[in-house]
Amino acid sequence: MSPRHTDKGYEAELSALRNRLLELGGKVETEIALGMRALAERDAALAEDVMATDREVNRLEVQIDEACRRLLALRQPAASDLRFITTALKIVVDLERIGDLAVNIAERAIDLNQSPPLRPIHDLTKLALACQSQLRKSLDAFVDGDTAKAEAVIKDDDLLDALYHKLFNELLGLMMEDPRNIRRATSLMFVAKHLERLGDHATNVAEMVIFMVRGTDVRHPGSRALK
């Protein structure tokens, strides 16, 4: 992106779109961090903050969609600009979904606050940290156009899945130990599932970043052969 567009207005609109996306990414990261803290610290106020942040996220999503539509209609973008805008349209969906997942986690936190705490599950914290790191890396890859970072995100998704399965078994074990754990362990299982989904969305973002930079689609490698 070294040379500037001859049309300064176009250049400005593109960089405004980029900044909005970064703002959205930052807010989604905050949501997850707040949600996990609400869970760990049993703090309903933090959970409320997640909901408030998500309303901002939703507003930003609409704004970004509008900006993309306007650019497509008025500027007839081509090549890397076109890929950037179509990528923006897609990752905004993933980011918004991540925000929704953070809200779900916050709701679970409020729910779990009603009952006494279960014993601490370390792998859940680990999974949450790993997911946040994946999200941050995929956003960094987007900002820097860094395909190596994006590829690392895609590769590390397997570790996330492994962690999730381990956690699943651990929570299953808790339920078998004592039926009174079932309700809370199920809630935690949902949180783990949300985190795992969150990781998938981060992977989607990373895949789109690779498309944006290289112009080649790395998704669904098997389906290409059918064409």
Binding site: S80, R83, R214
Partner: protein, 272 residues
């Protein structure tokens, strides 16, 4: 001892086998250069165009795209001091060879220009048939006129006033008349040098639709300043810059994922 490998592409007397007929390019430029006096306007361009496709040539003013097209029907050499080197083949035959008569070549390679240029002294009918009449070719002129005007999607608009002056038509109609005039002599290749730059969007859309129809029967090379037009109307796109062919490929690839940074900058509007 190792015997010499057989030539891959034979331009010899043996006709190519039927299977490779479709693969063989209709137009092929090999190391084509062109000059106006001492100005080198086209530098070692190598490019091929498959039959029944549309090639769009894009690039900033003075990049040599018009010169390239004018080499294809040897209109380039009409300018005093103009010359060219390299090879330019149609169906494998070098059309820059001394054996090729440019007048015959131009009957095989038709051309449509930037501004509609019907003959002002002639009627619509006589404009379409001008290539026949002025070359003294006999035949069923009325049938040729109707067929050509139909192919140029102009017949219904002018069938009741074929003997009116060509200048009584609108700009877009005049341009389609010029296309009909070029089609009348049944060319194999149609060159279009910014054919819609003087037309309104509706007339432009009609010309582009026409290009889609025409590629069923001939090969089209279109020069355009309008990148959206290149994107809409062509199968393949070539980007010229400062007399060089920077990149050519499938139009979709050029506009979504060009390989060359200069192409990227041009199609995204980062020049100047």
């Amino acid at each position: 001892m190792i015997s010499a490998p057989p030539p891959v592409a034979s331009s010899g007397p043996h006709p190519a086998p039927a299977a490779s007929d479709t693969a063989r390019p209709k137009i092929e430029a090999i190391d084509l250069s062109a000059w106006y006096g001492t100005t080198h306007v086209l530098r070692n361009v190598s490019l091929s165009v498959p039959a029944n496709t549309v090639l769009a040539i894009i690039g900033p003013s003075g990049c040599g795209k018009s010169t390239f097209v004018r080499c294809l029907n040897r209109m380039h050499e009409l300018v005093p001091g103009a010359r060219q080197s390299g090879q330019l083949r149609i169906d494998g035959e070098d059309l820059l060879s001394r054996k090729v008569d440019p007048v015959d070549l131009r009957r095989r390679v038709g051309m449509v220009f930037q501004r509609p240029n019907p003959f002002p002294t002639l009627s619509i009918f006589d404009n379409v048939i001008a290539g026949f009449k002025l070359n003294g070719i006999r035949g069923d002129h009325a049938a040729v006129v109707e067929k050509s005007l139909r192919r140029a999607a102009l017949w219904d608009e002018v069938k009741d006033r074929l003997h009116a002056s060509a200048l009584s038509l609108s700009g877009g109609q005049q341009q389609r008349l010029c296309i009909a005039r070029a089609l009348a002599i049944e060319p194999e290749v149609l060159l279009m040098d910014e054919p819609a730059s003087a037309l309104d969007p509706i007339a432009t859309a009609k010309i582009e639709e026409l290009i889609h129809e025409l590629k069923q029967v001939l090969t089209v090379v279109i020069v355009t300043h309008n990148m959206q037009q290149a994107a809409r109307a062509s199968d393949r796109t070539a980007f010229f810059y400062m007399g060089e062919l920077i990149e050519h490929g499938d139009t979709e690839q050029i506009f979504t994922n060009p390989r060359e940074p200069r192409t990227e900058d041009y199609v995204t509007g980062k020049f100047g």
